[in-house]
C-alpha cells in the first residue's frame, strides 16, 4: 500500500494506492529486490549528470557506480561514502525508508561516534527533501534526527 500526502499551492491532497496500482504509477514498493531498484535507477540515468554518476568510481577499490548498478554489490566499505548521495536513496528504498542505523555499535568505537557528522548529513538531506517537495521523506529524516537527540549513550560495561 502507498499513502502519500501532497501539499501543492496550499491544498492538501491524500493519495491511497494498493500495491498493484502504486507499482503501475511508478512507486517503488519496499519489498522490491535491490537489483530492480538499481535497474530503475539506470533507466532514469540518461542525463549527462547521470552518466557522470555512472562513471564515478570508489577511490579505495576502484568499483564504478555502473558496476555497482549491474551487480547490486559494493566493493568495499569506502564505496558507501564514494557513491553518496545515490547510496542514501538506494538504501532508503531497499530498507523501507529507514535512514540510519539504530542497532549495536562495536565496543571499540562506542563513545567516539561522530554523531554530529551524521546529524549534519541528516539536516542537509531534510533540506533537499523539502526543496524537492518530498515531505514524507523529510518527515522520516526529521523523525530520525529527533530519535538521535533522545538516544543516550549506552552504559559502558564494568571492567574486571
Amino acid at each position: 500500500m502507498v499513502h502519500e500526502v501532497v501539499i501543492q499551492n496550499g491544498n492538501k491532497m491524500e493519495l491511497h494506492l494498493c500495491a498493484e496500482h502504486a507499482a503501475a504509477k511508478g512507486y517503488i514498493l519496499p519489498t522490491v529486490p535491490v537489483t530492480q531498484i538499481l535497474k530503475q535507477f539506470a533507466a532514469t540515468g540518461k542525463s549527462l549528470k547521470a552518466q557522470k554518476a555512472a562513471a564515478r568510481c570508489c577511490e579505495a577499490c576502484g568499483l564504478t557506480f555502473a558496476e555497482f548498478r549491474q551487480t547490486g554489490r559494493f566493493g568495499c566499505a569506502t564505496c558507501y561514502d564514494s557513491f553518496m548521495p545515490s547510496v542514501a536513496a538506494i538504501i532508503e528504498r531497499a530498507q523501507s525508508g529507514a535512514v540510519s542505523h539504530r542497532g549495536r555499535t562495536p565496543k571499540r568505537i562506542e563513545g567516539q561516534a561522530d554523531r554530529a557528522a551524521v546529524r549534519r548529513q541528516l539536516i542537509k538531506e531534510i533540506e533537499s527533501a523539502v526543496a524537492a517537495e518530498q515531505y514524507e521523506r523529510a518527515a522520516s529524516l526529521q523523525g530520525r534526527l529527533h530519535q538521535m537527540g533522545a538516544e543516550k549513550k549506552p552504559p559502558t560495561e564494568p571492567t574486571t
Binding site: P30, G72, R73, A98, P106, R108
Partner: protein
C-alpha cells in the same frame, strides 16, 4: 508464543520446523569478498579461523576447508542448511566453521567475509539469537568489523546493511497450500517486509510445503526490536493462519485430508523405489498427519530425521552405492520402509 492449544506442541514444531539467525559481517581494511584478491581472501580466512574466541567458545570451532571438501560433502552441508548453494558451488578460498553441535555455522568468504548462522529446531528463536550474538561479540573482541556511523555494519549488498541480521523460520504450511490461501499469505508477508522463499532458500521451490520466511529490513531498528517483532508478531501470526487453515480443512474436508495422509503413509510403506523429491513430499504429508492428530504411532522428530536422511548426499553417507540415482531410489525406499516398521530382511513381499 501462541494462545492456541489445539495443535500446540513442543516449541510450536507443528508449524515451525526450525529457526535461523544469520549475521553478516566484514573485516575492516579489506575489500569485500567479491572485490578482494585471492591473497586478501586467504588473509581474511587466516584471521577468522585463528582468532581467539575466549570463554564463550573454549573449544573454538571445527573448520571445514571448502576448497578441499568433495562435491558430496558440500551437498551434505547444503542439505543441512549449513551453507548456501552459492557458497557450496563457489571456487574462492573459503571455509565453514561449526560449533555447538552444528547449531552454529560460520561461512568465511561468502558474499560477505562472515556469515554467522545459528539454527535451532522448533521456535527457539531466543536461543538462536543469543548463540549468534555471542559468537559475533566474541570475534569482535579480536577483529575489527567494517562499521559506518550512519549505516551501521557494512555489507556487500545494501539490503543487509545496518544490524546485518536476518531472522528466519522454516515453516511447514501444508494447509495454507491445500486451501489455496498461501498466495494471500505471501502477499501479506510482503506487506510486513518479509521474504518468503523455498526449501533451500533464495530461488528454490517450496518442496513439501516448507517455506523459509525472513525479515527484509535490517536498518533503522535495533537487533532486539527486530527480534521482538519477528518473534512476537510475525511468526505467531503465520502459525495462527496455518493452524486455522488446518482446523477448517479438517472440519470441512476431513475425508480429503485423511485420504492424503493415509495414502502418503501407505505409499511410503510399500514403495520399492523412491526419489528424493517424492519422498520429501510424502514425508511432509506424514508430518501434517501427525500434527493434525491423524497419525499417532509416529513422531514429528522421526519424520524430521527421515526428511534429512532421504536427501541424496545424506543417503550416500548411509549407503555409498546410493550415490547412483537408480540405486539411490531403491536404497531410499528401504530406508523409509525400515523406519516406518514395515521392512523385514528376506521378506520381499512386505
Amino acid at each position: 508464543m501462541s494462545d492456541q492449544t489445539d495443535f500446540n506442541s513442543n516449541n510450536d514444531n507443528d508449524v515451525v520446523v526450525s529457526v535461523r539467525i544469520r549475521v553478516a559481517r566484514n573485516l575492516a581494511g579489506f575489500p569485500f569478498t567479491g572485490r578482494a584478491s585471492d591473497s586478501q581472501r586467504q588473509e581474511v580466512l587466516q584471521m577468522v579461523t585463528h582468532a581467539p574466541l575466549g570463554g564463550a567458545f573454549p573449544d573454538g570451532l571445527a573448520w571445514v576447508n571448502m576448497t578441499q571438501a568433495s562435491a558430496q560433502e558440500r551437498q551434505l552441508l547444503v542439505e543441512r542448511h549449513l551453507v548456501s548453494k552459492h557458497f557450496a558451488q563457489s571456487t574462492l578460498p573459503r571455509a565453514l566453521g561449526l560449533g555447538h553441535s552444528e547449531q552454529l555455522g560460520v561461512m568465511v568468504n561468502e558474499e560477505d567475509h562472515l556469515r554467522i548462522q545459528s539454527i535451532f529446531p522448533g521456535f527457539r528463536l531466543n536461543e538462536a539469537f543469543d548463540l549468534a550474538r555471542s559468537f559475533d561479540q566474541a570475534l569482535e573482541e579480536t577483529v575489527d568489523f567494517a562499521f559506518h556511523q550512519r549505516w551501521g555494519y557494512l555489507t556487500a549488498c545494501p539490503t543487509n546493511v545496518g544490524c546485518g541480521i536476518r531472522l528466519g523460520a522454516m515453516l511447514h504450511l501444508p494447509a495454507l497450500r491445500y486451501s489455496g490461501e498461501i498466495e494471500r499469505v505471501k502477499r501479506a508477508a510482503k506487506d510486513l517486509h518479509l521474504a518468503v522463499r523455498g526449501y533451500y532458500g533464495e530461488g528454490t521451490d517450496a518442496i513439501g510445503n516448507f517455506y523459509q520466511v525472513s525479515n527484509q529490513v535490517t536498518l533503522g531498528a535495533s537487533e532486539e526490536e527486530l527480534l521482538q517483532h519477528f518473534r512476537d508478531e510475525v511468526i505467531p501470526k503465520l502459525i495462527d493462519y496455518e493452524r486455522t487453515a488446518r482446523q477448517m480443512l479438517l472440519e470441512k474436508n476431513r475425508p480429503l485430508i485423511e485420504d492424503k495422509v493415509y495414502r502418503a503413509r501407505a505409499t511410503l510403506k510399500v514403495a520399492r523405489l523412491l526419489g528424493a523429491e517424492e519422498a520429501t513430499k510424502l514425508l511432509s504429508t506424514l508430518r501434517f498427519g501427525i500434527s493434525s492428530g491423524l497419525l499417532h504411532n509416529l513422531s514429528i522428530e522421526c519424520v524430521e530425521q527421515l526428511l534429512l536422511q532421504v536427501q541424496p548426499a545424506h543417503l550416500a553417507q548411509i549407503d555409498p552405492f546410493a550415490a547412483e540415482e537408480e540405486k539411490g531410489r531403491l536404497s531410499r525406499a528401504i530406508l523409509v520402509r525400515r523406519a516406518l516398521g514395515d521392512y523385514a530382511e528376506g521378506n520381499p513381499e512386505i
